[in-house]
C-alpha cells in the first residue's frame, strides 16, 4: 500500500480531543499573562473562598472561584500550566537524553557494558521511584531546579530499556554492516545510522512520559517537596484544596481536573503516535489474505 495513503489513514484517526488539550496547554503556558483574568499570586482576603460562577453566590469575575487567600483559581490553573510544562519538557529532555545515550551504548556495544548498564536499570527499577525522589529531595532541598533534576534522574530507565531494545533490533540490519565496512567511525554509525531508526520510539515515549512526569511533579509539589509557594503549581493547589475539602471543594477539584485532562491528552496523542510511527506495534488488519 503506498506510503502516502497509509499516512492519510493515520491522519484521519488523529485524536482531536487530545491534540486540542495539548494545544491549549501550550497556549496557556506561553501566553498566561494575556489569557488569565487575574494575577495568580495577588491576594484579596475579602474575596476568599468564593464559589465557582455556576453556583449560587458565584461571580463571573472568578469563574472557578477563589482560594483561602482570595486568589483566583482559574488564573492559578493557567499559570500552573507553565510550571507543569516547564518541568515536563526539561525533565523529559534530561531523562530522554540520559536514557537514549545509555540505551544506544548498551544496545550497540553489548557485552560487559550492556550487562552493567542493565544491572543499574534493574536496581533502579526495583526501587519505588517516589521514595527515591523523596530521599533525594530531602537531601538536596525542595526547589524547582531540584525537582527537575530528580525527576530527570529517576525517569531515564524507561527510555533506556526501550531504546536499547530498538538498537538491538536495528543493529542486525544490513545497512549497519555496510556502514562498518565503509569504514564509518562508531560515533558516526550511532549518530547517522542507528539513531534515526530510534527516533520514532523516542517521540512516542516522550509524549507518554510527558504526562507521567507532569503527574510526578504535581505529586512532589502536593507533598510540599516541589515547587514552593507562592508559585502556582497544580500540585500545591491540590495540597491547599485538601485542607478545605469539606467546605470549599472547588479548590482541589479543578486543578486535579486540569492534570487529568492534560495526561489524558498526552495518552491519547501518544497512543496515536505509536500507531502511526512504531510499525511493530501498529494494529494490523485482522484477516488472512
Amino acid at each position: 500500500m503506498p506510503r502516502s495513503s497509509r499516512i492519510w489513514v493515520h491522519m484521519k484517526n488523529a485524536p482531536l480531543g487530545g491534540l486540542t488539550i495539548l494545544f491549549l496547554l501550550v497556549m496557556a503556558a506561553l501566553f498566561a499573562e494575556f489569557i488569565a483574568p487575574h494575577s495568580p499570586i495577588d491576594q484579596d482576603i475579602t474575596q476568599a473562598l468564593k464559589v465557582p460562577f455556576f453556583l449560587k453566590g458565584g461571580t463571573l469575575s472568578h469563574l472557578l472561584g477563589t482560594d483561602e487567600l482570595g486568589r483566583d483559581i482559574l488564573s492559578r490553573i493557567i499559570f500552573g500550566a507553565r510550571i507543569s510544562l516547564v518541568v515536563g519538557f526539561i525533565a523529559v529532555a534530561i531523562s530522554g537524553f540520559i536514557g537514549t545515550c545509555l540505551g544506544l551504548i548498551s544496545g550497540y556495544f553489548g557485552g560487559k557494558i550492556d550487562s552493567i548498564i542493565m544491572r543499574v536499570v534493574d536496581v533502579q527499577l526495583s526501587m519505588p521511584y517516589i521514595l527515591i525522589a523523596l530521599a533525594l529531595i530531602g537531601a538536596l532541598g525542595p526547589s524547582l531546579r531540584n525537582i527537575i533534576i530528580v525527576i530527570g534522574i529517576t525517569s531515564w530507565v524507561d527510555y533506556g530499556r526501550v531504546i536499547r531494545g530498538e538498537v538491538l533490533s536495528v543493529k542486525e540490519n544490513e545497512f549497519v554492516d555496510l556502514a562498518k565496512i565503509a569504514g564509518c567511525s562508531t560515533y558516526r554509525i550511532l549518530l547517522k545510522h542507528i539513531f534515526p531508526s530510534v527516533v520514532n520510539s523516542l517521540i512516542v515515549l516522550g509524549t507518554l512520559m510527558l504526562g507521567r512526569i507532569i503527574i510526578f511533579e504535581a505529586a512532589l509539589s502536593f507533598l510540599g517537596l516541589g515547587v514552593q509557594p507562592p508559585t502556582p503549581s497544580w500540585g500545591i493547589m491540590l495540597a491547599d484544596g485538601r485542607q478545605y475539602l469539606t467546605y470549599a471543594w472547588w479548590l482541589a477539584t479543578f486543578p486535579g481536573l486540569a492534570i487529568m485532562l492534560v495526561v489524558l491528552g498526552t495518552n491519547l496523542v501518544g497512543d496515536w503516535l505509536r500507531d502511526m510511527l512504531d510499525p511493530r506495534q501498529r494494529a494490523v488488519v485482522r484477516g488472512k489474505r
Binding site: 534493574d122 526495583s126 521514595l131 537531601a139 505529586a219 500540585g235 487529568m260 495526561v263
Partner: protein
C-alpha cells in the same frame, strides 16, 4: 528447575547489593548530620570528636563496608526524632502498607482480568469501548486527585465511609480503590491486548477446529498463554503501587511506611527515610523473585532455557 531458582536468587542478591549502593549514595548526599545532631553551640573540637565517633572521617569504602555490616544486623541508625531504631519503626509500619497494597492488588485483578478478557472476546463492541475508555481515564487520573475526589464524594458528601485511619473494612475501601485505580486500568488494557494477540494464534484456531466450546477455548487455552505477560505486568504494577502508597497513605492518614517516610522528610529524619527506601525496595525484589518462580509453573518453556 532448582538451578534456575538458585540463579534467580543470586541475581536478586546482586540487585539488593546495588540498592545498598544507591541508598549509601543518598545518605552521603544528605550531608553531614553532625550539625543536625549536635546543639548549635558545639565547638569545632566537639564536632570533630562526634564525627570520629560516627566514623565519618574514614575513607568512603570503609564507611560503605560498615554500612553493609550494620544493615545485615538490622541496624539502620537511630531515628533523629524518635530515639528508636529506624529499622524497628519501618518494620512496625510495614504490615499496614502490605495490607493496603494487597487489598489494592486484589481489587485490581478481580476487576481488570474479566474486563480485559471480555473486551478481547468482543473487540470493538460497546462493551469494549466503554471498558477501554474507563481504562484510559484510570491511567490518566493522578492518585492524589482520585483520593481527594473519593473522599469528597463518599466521606464528605455522602458520609458513607471514613476518610482517615486504619480499622475495619470501611476504612480500607477508599484507600484501596485509590491505590488500585491505575493498576486496574493498566492491567485491563494489557490483558485485552495480550488476549487479542493470543486469540489470533494458530493454536487457538486448532482448539476451535477441535470443536471445543468457546468457554474452554478462551479460559483454558487462551488465558493460560495470555496470563504470562500479564503476570509480568502485574508484578511491575506492584512496584508502582509501593510508590503510589506513599501518597495514598498520606491522604488517608493510613499508618504505613509511605506516610512515615513523608513525615520523616518533613522532620529531616533521614535514617527513617533511607530505611524506608531500602526496605520497600527489598520487598519489591522479593516479590519479583516469587513471581519468577510462579512463572516456571505457568510457562513450561522457561525451564529449558
Amino acid at each position: 528447575m532448582q538451578r534456575y531458582v538458585i540463579k534467580r536468587f543470586f541475581q536478586s542478591l546482586i540487585v539488593i547489593l546495588g540498592i545498598t549502593v544507591i541508598v549509601f549514595i543518598i545518605i552521603h548526599l544528605t550531608g553531614d548530620p553532625t550539625d543536625l545532631l549536635l546543639p548549635p553551640e558545639a565547638g569545632p573540637e566537639e564536632k570533630a570528636l562526634f564525627r570520629h565517633e560516627l566514623g565519618l572521617d574514614r575513607p568512603i569504602y570503609i564507611q560503605y563496608f560498615e554500612f553493609i555490616k550494620n544493615i545485615t544486623h538490622g541496624d539502620f541508625g537511630q531515628s533523629f526524632r524518635h530515639q528508636t531504631s529506624a529499622f524497628s519503626l519501618i518494620i512496625g509500619a510495614l504490615p499496614a502498607t502490605i495490607e493496603l497494597t494487597i487489598a489494592a492488588m486484589i481489587l485490581s485483578i478481580v476487576i481488570a482480568l474479566p474486563v480485559g478478557i471480555i473486551s478481547a472476546i468482543r473487540p470493538r463492541s460497546n462493551y469494549d469501548r466503554i471498558g477501554m475508555t474507563f481504562a484510559l481515564l484510570g491511567q490518566s487520573i493522578p492518585v492524589y486527585w482520585a483520593g481527594l475526589m473519593l473522599i469528597l464524594l463518599f466521606a464528605v458528601t455522602l458520609g458513607w465511609l471514613p476518610s482517615t485511619g486504619r480499622g475495619g473494612i470501611e476504612h480500607i475501601i477508599l484507600p484501596a480503590i485509590t491505590l488500585g485505580m491505575f493498576s486496574t486500568a493498566a492491567i485491563a488494557r494489557f490483558t485485552r491486548s495480550s488476549m487479542l494477540d493470543v486469540l489470533d494464534t494458530d493454536y487457538i484456531r486448532t482448539a476451535r477446529i477441535k470443536g471445543l466450546t468457546e468457554y474452554i477455548v478462551v479460559l483454558k487455552h487462551a488465558f493460560k498463554n495470555a496470563s504470562i505477560p500479564v503476570l509480568t505486568m502485574t508484578s511491575l504494577q506492584f512496584g508502582r503501587m509501593l510508590s503510589g502508597a506513599v501518597i495514598t497513605e498520606t491522604i488517608f492518614s493510613w499508618p504505613g511506611v509511605g506516610r512515615m517516610a513523608v513525615q520523616a522528610i518533613y522532620n529531616r529524619d533521614f535514617p527513617v527515610v533511607q530505611t524506608a527506601v531500602f526496605i520497600t525496595s527489598v520487598l519489591f525484589v522479593g516479590i519479583n523473585f516469587l513471581v519468577d518462580i510462579i512463572y516456571t509453573y505457568l510457562d513450561p518453556r522457561i525451564k529449558y532455557k
